[in-house]
């Protein structure tokens, strides 16, 4: 027994030495050692290969202007990003720069992974990005931790052709209109099986489920958290869930089996909408490129509109969330300095191909993603003024950021499961929200006493 204890102690010691940054300058691959006094930094992202290619083009431009700094991109699928970060961020050989979902930031700050932005960069961020975004997405306890890049929010996406076929002129603005239109837009075969879905709900993907739901809650006058207290049994939350229940089980205008998505956020949910078998969904702006490539000419049929307002809401509000790039606090000081330099360059007007645009802005625009820097929003104004994106841009000012709290990822999954249990007829809306509330309290309670 004592022997085992000794082995554990030895190993823990070894592990601790490995992680605490003793070997501060990690042995980097051959590329770095070839050039003396050069520093190699790595950039972890979930972007698809086309965007990585573009990023590499900007990196080449940066490296030319800044000899001695090499930037290597490490790309993983969206589904593996957080687990990769979790496994690797604590080590000095982990990624120097990571593009993260803002919800993960509080934990990365708490555990000392995210480095505070140096004064120059913090000022750059505060001066050039919308104030509500800086405070809502990249600031923890008064300090700025990274460059915001993409910003996403949700709108009603609807198929104009199917609307016209059903004799409906305009998208629904209230829940009453929504249920009425969905009924008119639903077609069934002889057995009662839905062949054309009035309103589509996504399942099997956590934030994909929770964000549209929360947008409906917000548009019914509700919220997710009051401070750190979950509001899942509130009137708006229960009403929204009840609406889902009605659409599926009473009105039968939604079929959960048509809403499945896989780890890569594709699958029947996307397929049914792009094949014009789903008339309406609530979805984010970033998937414009997926719609375009899958729908071809039919993409012109897609219209976007504000979230329909619930019986107790006064206006349409979407959830918004942001992605940001952070720098690993475990990296060496040379690496950290080089990383901030690179990020500032990449987010600075002039690094992009479009005149006056930041490289990051150009990159995001290729994916149909809204850039967040004030100057980029200006630069791309005409490009953003498309039938698809316009309502998203207009909705930015009334959007509410998804609260960034510790335990956010787990909270999202708990709510997802509660919503899905209603969708698949396993729980009543009231009971599902009740159990989600108690789970949410427990999850949040782990971190906020």
């Amino acid at each position: 027994m004592r022997k085992i204890g000794a082995i554990i102690a030895a190993l823990m010691l070894a592990a601790a030495c490995g992680t605490s940054g003793q070997s501060a300058a990690p042995s980097q691959p051959v590329a770095a050692s070839a050039k003396a006094a050069s520093v190699t930094i790595t950039y972890l992202t979930h972007w698809p290969p086309q965007q990585v290619e573009l990023l590499n083009k900007y990196i080449a431009k940066f490296e030319q202007a800044n000899p001695g700094i090499q930037v290597q991109v490490r790309a993983v699928p969206f589904g593996s990003l957080l687990s990769t970060l979790r496994a690797q961020a604590g080590s000095p050989s982990g990624p120097t720069i990571t593009g993260i979902y803002d919800l993960w930031l509080p934990e990365l700050v708490k555990d000392g992974i995210a480095a505070k932005a140096p004064t120059a960069q913090a000022q750059d961020i505060e001066n050039n990005w919308p104030a509500n975004l800086v405070s809502g997405a990249v600031t923890v306890d008064g300090s700025v931790y990274g460059y915001p890049n993409e910003i996403d929010l949700y709108m009603l996406n609807y198929n104009k052709k199917l609307f016209a076929d059903a004799g409906i002129n305009s998208p629904p603005t209230t829940w009453d209109e929504l249920t009425k239109d969905a009924q008119a837009l639903t077609k069934r075969d002889g057995s009662g099986k839905i062949t054309q879905q009035g309103f589509g709900l996504i399942n099997s993907w956590d934030s994909g489920v929770v964000h549209p739901w929360l947008s409906m809650v917000l548009s019914d006058g509700g919220q997710l958290l009051n401070g750190t207290t979950p509001q899942l049994t509130s009137q708006a939350a229960v009403e929204t869930t009840t609406l889902y229940d009605q659409l599926i089980h009473q009105l039968k205008v939604t079929d959960p089996a048509m809403g499945t998505s896989n780890a890569n956020t594709t699958g029947p949910f996307l397929d049914n909408f792009t094949n014009q078998k789903t008339a309406m969904i609530v979805m984010a702006n970033w998937w414009e490129s997926a719609l375009q490539s899958a729908m071809g000419a039919n993409f012109a049929n897609v219209g976007t509109a504000p979230i329909p307002v619930g019986p107790h809401g006064s206006a349409a509000h979407s959830v918004s969330y942001a992605w940001l790039t952070i720098v690993n606090a475990h990296a060496s000081s040379e690496q950290q300095a080089a990383a901030w330099k690179f990020l500032q360059w990449l987010d600075d007007p002039g690094s992009g191909d479009t005149a006056g645009a930041a490289g990051m802005g150009d990159l995001l625009m290729t994916m149909g993603i809204l850039p967040s820097r004030n100057s980029d929003v200006q630069t791309f104004q005409s490009k953003l003024d498309t039938p698809f994106l316009k309502s998203y841009v207009d909705g930015l000012s009334s959007a509410a950021p998804f609260p960034i709290v510790l335990g956010g990822a787990e909270l999202t999954v708990a709510i997802q499961k509660a919503i899905e249990s209603v969708e698949f007829g396993q729980a009543t809306p009231g009971a599902a929200m009740q159990s989600a509330q108690s789970q949410a309290q427990q999850i949040i309670g782990q971190y906020y006493k």
Partner: protein, 286 residues
């Protein structure tokens, strides 16, 4: 002298296993008594005693995952083993040509990386673009949601597993069959036993050890199913395909609760430590 050579020969194999399997198990058990986010060094863990176990055991998601894992494993074994015996006997009999070809075809599915299998089957199950629903509608049957429904998702994953592993287990059975001396069959043939009789009274009893081995291997493999769940369903819809390994992975890597995840891992080990010796015990009773 032998002791010295024992050392020389054992150290590489057994030493590696000790360092890279046994020590990590002990560390897992140690971590299970702590609260730890994985971003911080191991030394900064916070001791919480058995709190993780208490929490995990009362967590309905974990209970569901445990149940799902047993269902996946149990149904897979119940379907796979008899089919493997059937095909094993079929392929062992020298009656017809083409057996070698079928043996290779069956085994070829085992060559495909599970991630690739999951990707391919994801498309096969696709309600709109997939061929399965096309076949059903050709046969006049209603199309199915497959992975998109709480009642069919698990079945779909089991079918995938059955397809992928049947050839492998068939080959194990075949190997066992070659161990049965031909004399036994000759003797039973003289007694007038037909194929069924031979199978019942000669083959199956003598295959007992092989079958135990197959059941254990199938048990271990299915109890740690991960890849298809990760690629295709993420445990959904509504936990219907959430299995232990995926739950542990999500708890550790998505939620950052490495302590709770380690407690689950230890519980999984305990389950295995009960099930495997029990099976071996049953097999040894002759």
């Amino acid at each position: 002298m032998q002791l010295l050579w024992s050392g020389v020969f054992l150290v590489p194999g057994v030493g590696l296993i000790a360092v890279f399997v046994v020590v990590p198990i002990l560390l897992t058990a140690w971590i299970s008594l702590h609260q730890w986010s994985m971003y911080t060094p191991l030394t900064q863990m916070q001791f919480v005693g058995l709190a993780n176990y208490q929490e995990v055991l009362s967590d309905p998601t974990f209970q569901q995952a445990l149940l799902n894992t047993f269902i996946y494993s149990g149904v897979s074994i119940v379907l796979t083993v008899p089919l493997a015996v059937f095909f094993g006997i079929f392929l062992y009999r020298p009656a017809i040509r083409g057996r070698t070809a079928l043996r290779m075809v069956l085994f070829s599915t085992y060559m495909v990386p599970t991630v690739a299998v999951a990707i391919v089957w994801g498309y096969l199950y696709s309600p709109l673009y997939g061929p399965f629903n096309e076949i059903l509608s050709f046969l006049g049957l209603p199309s199915q949601p497959w992975l998109g429904s709480t009642s069919e998702a698990m079945v779909s994953l089991i079918i995938l597993n059955l397809w992928q592993t049947l050839g492998y287990y068939t080959v194990l059975v075949l190997a066992g069959l070659t161990q049965i001396p031909q004399d036994y069959y000759d003797a039973s043939a003289i007694d007038g036993a037909g194929l069924l009789g031979q199978t019942r009274y000669v083959t199956l009893p003598l295959l007992r050890r092989t079958l135990t081995f197959v059941v254990i291997i199938a048990g271990i493999n299915t109890l740690q199913v991960f890849d298809p769940v990760y690629v295709l369903t993420q445990g959904g819809p509504v936990n219907s395909t959430n299995v232990l390994t995926y739950d542990i992975y999500q708890t550790a890597f998505q939620f950052g609760r490495a302590g709770a995840a380690s407690a689950m891992a230890v519980l999984l080990l305990i389950v295995l430590a009960i099930v495997v010796p029990a099976l071996l015990h049953v097999a040894r009773e002759d």
